[in-house]
């Protein structure tokens, strides 16, 4: 027992630089120790990560769905022609005149006139109609003018065009896709809002899941925490491993959510490709942007930290 020079009176204050180095060291230790504790009970950790991951994947899936519906809507809107049905009894000449008139307008890309004869032939080609058509005495179909608006024409311009055509003499009915598009856009707006609310609610759920897991963690180690507090550990020191546990739960669940989203994206690729063929290959699957896939794990890690921080503040106040 010749070590008494180590005990020659009370200790001096530890230099700042040393304190910083050992603070860093404790961060490293906490990160590693919390990871080891996660690995020590794999089932519980995996369940927490799976629940959080699924909760975070859900809004991503909806976001994907919305993106694709949006693209589909765009593609459909572009290929949609405006059909102008003439009153029955309007002659081909009058129709042609109207078509030329419309063709001169700047927002119109192309005009085509369909005679009642052509209409009948189209119908005859459709399955099941030929028999019924044979029963008709004469052709009930009117002349039809098909307008293709320029793809860069504004919605307002197309709207005025439709209104003008409706007011023209000899026009019975104008069928346009405009109101349909507006409805889709409004619906997408609602969908976006729903996804946002859903994301907030599910983020809250993820927060509760990680919070509860960390709470159980802390409760099961209350004895250790008591000892740490007795030997002079600060709250920050005591909760550090639990905050890292929260970060790990969040990070892993965020990675899981991003992976799930990619799987869903790949699953969507085939049906969308099929759909794309019906739109001259113009449609491509709307994927999740790379930044989002990277941001999700980071945001989830922050969420995990927050959950652990809130719970540990509350638990430690109880312990002290």
């Amino acid at each position: 027992m010749n070590a008494s020079k180590e005990f020659n009176g009370p200790a001096a204050q530890v230099p700042r630089q040393q304190r910083f180095a050992s603070w860093q060291e404790h961060h490293g230790w906490s990160a590693a120790a919390s990871l080891r504790r996660l690995a020590a009970r794999p089932l519980g950790s995996l369940l927490t990560i799976a629940v959080m991951g699924l909760a975070l994947a859900l809004p991503l899936a909806f976001y994907l769905l919305l993106g694709n519906v949006q693209k589909l809507g765009d593609a459909m809107g572009q290929s949609q022609a405006i059909s102008v049905f003439m009153q029955t009894g309007q002659s081909g000449q009058a129709t042609q005149l109207l078509a030329t008139q419309l063709g001169n307008r700047p927002e119109v890309a192309s005009v085509a006139v369909k005679s009642p004869q052509q209409g009948m032939e189209e119908l005859a080609k459709m399955q099941g109609f030929s028999g019924a058509l044979a029963l008709l005495d004469d052709n009930p179909l009117p002349y039809v003018v098909q307008l293709q608006p320029r793809s860069d024409a504004s919605a307002a311009a197309v709207e005025t065009l439709v209104a003008d055509v409706r007011a023209m003499q000899g026009v019975e009915l104008v069928q346009d896709s405009d109101s349909w598009r507006k409805r889709l856009e409004a619906l997408l707006g609602v969908g976006n809002r729903v996804v946002l609310m859903l994301a907030l609610m599910l983020a809250m759920a993820a927060l509760l899941v990680v919070g509860n897991t960390v709470r159980v963690d802390i409760a099961s180690r209350s004895e250790e925490i008591g000892v740490l507090l007795l030997v002079g550990a600060s709250d920050a020191f005591v909760r550090r491993p639990y905050l890292y546990a929260g970060i790990w739960y969040g990070l892993f669940s965020g990675i899981l959510a991003a992976l799930l989203a990619v799987v869903i994206e790949l699953g969507l690729a085939a049906p969308v490709a099929q759909l794309s063929q019906t739109y001259d290959g113009k449609l491509r699957v709307a994927g999740l942007p790379t930044w989002l896939l990277l941001a999700v794990p980071l945001a989830a890690a922050a969420l995990g930290w927050l959950g652990a921080r809130l719970v540990s503040a509350w638990q430690l106040r109880k312990a002290a």
């Binding site: 027992m1 070590a3 180590e6 020659n8 009370p10 040393q18 180095a21 008591g226 740490l228 030997v231």
Partner: protein
């Protein structure tokens, strides 16, 4: 170092553990607190570590009024006190070395310095060979010595111990008390709660006797025969 002035502690439910207790322990002194179980020994030590707060009265430690120490200031206060418990309160899943290292880690001491001081503390209590073991593999007496090594490793100004020899055979108990006396010799103030009167008598140190929370005798070292 320690100054109690008219200190009372009444627990919820009305039980008065300490009543109007006044005494002083100068720096560098070693003193025993004794009395029957329930006399208030443990409560007295708990008040010093701010594990409990007094209901009345003023406690000053090293000139600092403990009533002024807020919750956030408690860790800093506890780092200046080495505490030894009857049930030693070791972290069972960490090695002996890691247990003793804990106060230095908390205090922010650098790694190399920590290793040096942990080994010195373990050598002091005669357990250097056990540093890699888990506490569960040690005997009760050895665990108690690990607890003492942890209490002294950060060189506290005050060392308090609650029944440190409670579970030990007489031979071991004497050795442990001898260790405490050694720390007093290098300038640490030592306060030990114990009901083992024969052991206390052998130590020839000051004895504070409590009964039902009141001070009934305060014997100077010379008076202890």
């Amino acid at each position: 170092m320690i100054h109690f002035d008219q200190v009372s502690k009444r627990y919820e439910g009305g039980h008065e553990a300490l009543s109007q207790l006044s005494f002083e322990v100068p720096t560098g002194e070693m003193a025993f607190v004794t009395g029957h179980s329930g006399a208030g020994k443990s409560t007295l030590l708990k008040l010093l570590g701010l594990i409990e707060r007094p209901s009345h009265g003023v406690i000053t430690l090293d000139g600092q009024n403990l009533a002024r120490v807020r919750r956030g200031g408690i860790p800093r206060l506890r780092r200046r006190i080495g505490m030894v418990f009857q049930d030693h309160r070791l972290l069972m899943e960490r090695t002996v070395f890691a247990n003793v290292e804990l106060p230095l880690m908390i205090g922010g001491v650098a790694r190399a310095e920590r290793a040096r001081r942990v080994r010195a503390a373990l050598e002091k209590v005669g357990l250097l060979a056990c540093e890699r073991q888990l506490p569960a593999t040690l005997s009760t007496g050895e665990q108690q010595r690990v607890g003492i090594a942890r209490a002294i490793v950060a060189r506290p100004t005050l060392l308090i111990a609650d029944e440190p020899t409670g579970n030990l055979d007489p031979q071991l108990a004497v050795e442990i008390m001898g260790l405490f006396a050694e720390f007093q010799q290098v300038g640490t103030t030592v306060l030990i709660a114990s009901h083992d009167l024969s052991l206390i008598k052998r130590m020839h140190k000051r004895v504070i006797v409590l009964d039902h929370g009141r001070l009934v005798a305060d014997l100077a070292a010379q008076e202890v025969l």
